[in-house]
Amino acid sequence: MKYSEITIRFCGIAGDGIVASGKILAGACAKIGLHVMVNNIYSAEIRGLGKSSATIRFSTSKLYSMGDGLDLLVGMVSKESIIDLRDVKERGNVIYDTSTIGDVVEEDSLVSHITPEIQGHGLPITKLANEASGTNQGKNLVAIGAICYFYSLPPEMFVDQIKGLFTRKGERVVEINIKAFRLGYEYFKENYPLNNQFEIDKRSKPRKLTSGNDAIAKGAIDCGLKFFAGYPITPATKIMEIAAKELPKLGGWTLQMEDEIAAIGAVLGAWFAGKRAMTATSGPGLSLMSEMINLSVMAEIPTVIVNVQRGGPSTGLPTKVEQGDLNIALYGGAGDSPRVVMAPTDTEECYSGIQLAFDIAEKYQTPVIFLSDLFLGQRTETVTIKENIDRDRCTRKKPTSEQLKNFLRYQITDDGVSPLIVPGEPGAVYSTTGLEHSAKGNPNYESDVHSMMTAKRFRKFDSMVADLPTADILGDETAEIGIAGWGSTIGSILEGMEIAKKQGVKTKLIKSIMIHPQHEDSFRKFFDSCKKIIIPEMNYQGQYAALLKSRYGIKPIEIHIPAVNPVSPLKIAQKIMETNSELSQ
């Protein structure tokens, strides 16, 4: 068979080297110049023999999602991999270990669940790993060797990857892993000589792999992040890890706090002192931060909060994806508490979007909640990020010397934005409070003052629209079916639209990193041009649909997927096809 796109999943338990498998395979494919996307799924338990999996999709053309179905499942463990069989495509393949020790009962055997539509390929994974290393070490490399032969990928790229990944562990580890790789390769060559051809364009240049979390951390640092405070939480911890490593090199700080409330408090403090600061968390952490976010609104202290969404509510599904935090991001504050909500749709936007978040937060003295999600945050993919490095960037509205003389921290202005100083600026008194206040910043509970100040805080949101990117409209402008989406679901929507296009159905999509506020005109115009509107998202309630319905008065077809896995493009395509047949009736 000839392939130009393949999806492979490794399934195993702790110690099987599942994440490393994904890294090696993805690294080698990226080096060949292929487009790659990797999604790791692991159990929420930190220790123990929980199941984990790494899914790697690689292609000769750009990827937007993890797609649908697997071409190959590598079951490093038997019982735990059975459930993944349902994801294997018809005529897909399974590689299983034929050398496990001890009897396996029929019900628990991966092989016994393989149907004739799928081809099972036995590989003595444990045995060959033992031949290479004397232990079980290298099992993953045995499987990767077999895959390399099975899809005729260039072995030298894999050897390079192995060297790159294991050199710091010593020469012997490198040798063992290369040997394991070769044994797997040779076993398949001898036993399954009929391999597949993956069409590689020899002129392709190597590509770089990045994750959404990496891109957020890098984007923030490149636009002047000086202080990070946080409390570890899956799936956001990686951002703190990067900040902890990189910020000190640039004279910055990372502080691990005792909880999320303290973390956002510290971040507000840093902004108050004039430094660009950020925290990163997930649903439970965002809930804890809500009162501090209100303080940011009321005291007009900028702040940037990254929320890498996971399944909720409560501790919920720590290692699964969901887009369930839109409501709390938009409305989760007591009082009239406006905040900017942004949601990047891909890894490139994680980088450029977080920089915009900082600029807006600082300029408009507002909290910005940056809603990424587990899938976008943790997946690694080949992307070309346009670097924008300016670590002294400052978008603060500074007072004129005149304004400084009688400094009004909350001066009423047309755009709602008052000049901002750093406390301690000579000649000015910076008075602030979480209580309602006068223009000077002194507590004041008069009703007209409260109305005026509330209006001022909301006015900023009208003025900022001019600084925001307009929505992107993709697909066929003449289409009658329009789709609106947000966050990482956009990738699946784009691929779903492509599937529908191949069936002759035209669609168009409106997407924006800005959830609130938005360029409302472009949305209105778009919705006016559609006969049917579809809004797919990964939550039960249809939180984005609810926002758009109340804002634009539309009556969309909603797809609510309380997700544990990224949305299937096929599911979206099916809805498009259904909608199309309704339209043509």
């Binding site: 038997s78 299983y96 270990d97 034929t98 050398s99 496990t100 020790i101 001890g102 009897d103 396996v104 009962v105 029929e106 055997s109 092989v111 016994s112 393989i114 004739p116 539509e117 081809q119 099972g120 390929h121 036995g122 001898e190 000589p193 009929l194």
Partner: protein, 333 residues
């Protein structure tokens, strides 16, 4: 009642179908090591020559298996049988229980001591997998050396020649006969093949194969040196019975069965090319080789597994299909 059948060839799948047709409620699991649906080996050469399409090779489509309720587990090798526990053990250590077991593992070509070291240079022509590999290689193949015997060997050399390849056939015998009893060719088979342009080397055999820059160098006992792009060779064709090793199931060359196709162990039956049946004429066990026989045995084994008492009648010869020609052969005689 769980009926487990080892081998998804003609005997195995016929037995499965027979059981399900007679008893819809019977659980039938067919375990075969090949990656495909059961197929007709005699059509492989026609498939290779593109005279038929791949789906025409199969006995029946997947939908029919589903309809019949037969569970096919392909790509799965059975490594042992434990009649005392009524269990079989698969390659990957999975243990499967059975109430009634049928062994229908067929036969396959093998190499003797001389050729064994050169196994990796030798191409077999036995399965669909071999055929698919061969199909991939064909465009680059010009010269072929074939060493072996039997009707499938004749099938192979004729097919290669028909495809315009240069074929050298090496046989241990004085003439190329392929153990055929009767055939419809005009004149003698040996001369017929030579006229077709096949080079025949008699009273000789391959003793070494070496990889060279452009294929292989083949040396024979008579010190004939040949070059080839591909080498096909086998010394014998024998029943696949490694899975009964240590099981107390009686065997000679194949698994010994009575006319009801019962083995020496209770509730275990065997059918097809892997069995030897007592032939009253020759007063010894023999392998009643060939597709029609395997088919008939599969049917009878299926019925008997359901408690019937049908007997198999020995056939003297097999009808062999050679590129549309009908030949009669008698293997292992």
């Amino acid at each position: 009642m769980k009926h487990v059948i080892i081998g998804a060839g003609v005997a195995g799948i016929t037995a499965a179908k027979t059981i399900k047709e007679l008893d819809r409620n019977a659980e039938v699991v067919v375990i075969g090591d090949e990656l495909f649906l059961p197929y007709k080996r005699y059509l492989l050469s026609e498939f290779l020559c593109n005279s038929i399409r791949r789906k025409e090779l199969f006995f029946f489509p997947m939908s029919m298996l589903k309809e019949l309720g037969i569970r096919l587990r392909n790509g799965t090798w059975v490594k042992a049988i434990d009649p005392s526990k009524k269990e079989i053990k698969l390659f990957h250590n999975e243990v499967v229980h059975y109430d009634k077991l049928l062994i229908a593992t067929g036969g396959s070509p093998g190499l003797g001591l001389v050729l064994q070291p050169y196994k990796k240079y030798i191409h077999f022509y036995y399965s669909l997998y071999d055929t698919l590999v061969l199909k991939e290689k064909l465009p680059e193949i010009r010269k072929c050396v074939v060493f072996g015997d039997g009707v499938s060997c004749l099938d192979l050399i004729c097919m290669l020649r028909n495809l315009g390849k240069q074929v050298t056939y090496i046989t241990k015998g004085e003439r190329a006969t392929f153990a055929l009893d009767e055939y419809n060719f005009e004149g003698e088979l040996h001369e017929f093949l030579e006229e077709k342009g096949i080079e025949i080397i008699t009273a000789d055999q391959i003793v070494s194969i070496e990889e060279s820059d452009h294929g292989y160098k083949v040396e024979s006992i008579q010190q004939t040196m040949l070059t080839a792009d591909i080498v096909f060779a086998w010394d014998y064709y024998k029943p696949n019975i490694s899975c009964i090793e240590g099981s107390a199931i009686e065997k000679k060359l194949g698994i010994l069965v009575n006319v009801k196709l019962e083995t020496s162990q209770k509730d275990i039956y065997a059918a097809g090319d892997c069995v030897e049946i007592y032939h009253p004429g020759i007063k010894d066990y023999w392998i009643n080789f060939g597709l029609p026989n395997a088919l008939e045995q599969g049917k009878i084994a299926g019925k008997n597994m359901l408690g019937q008492h049908e007997e198999y009648k020995i056939q003297e010869a097999i009808v062999f299909n050679l590129m549309g020609q009908s030949l009669k052969a008698r293997w292992w005689k």
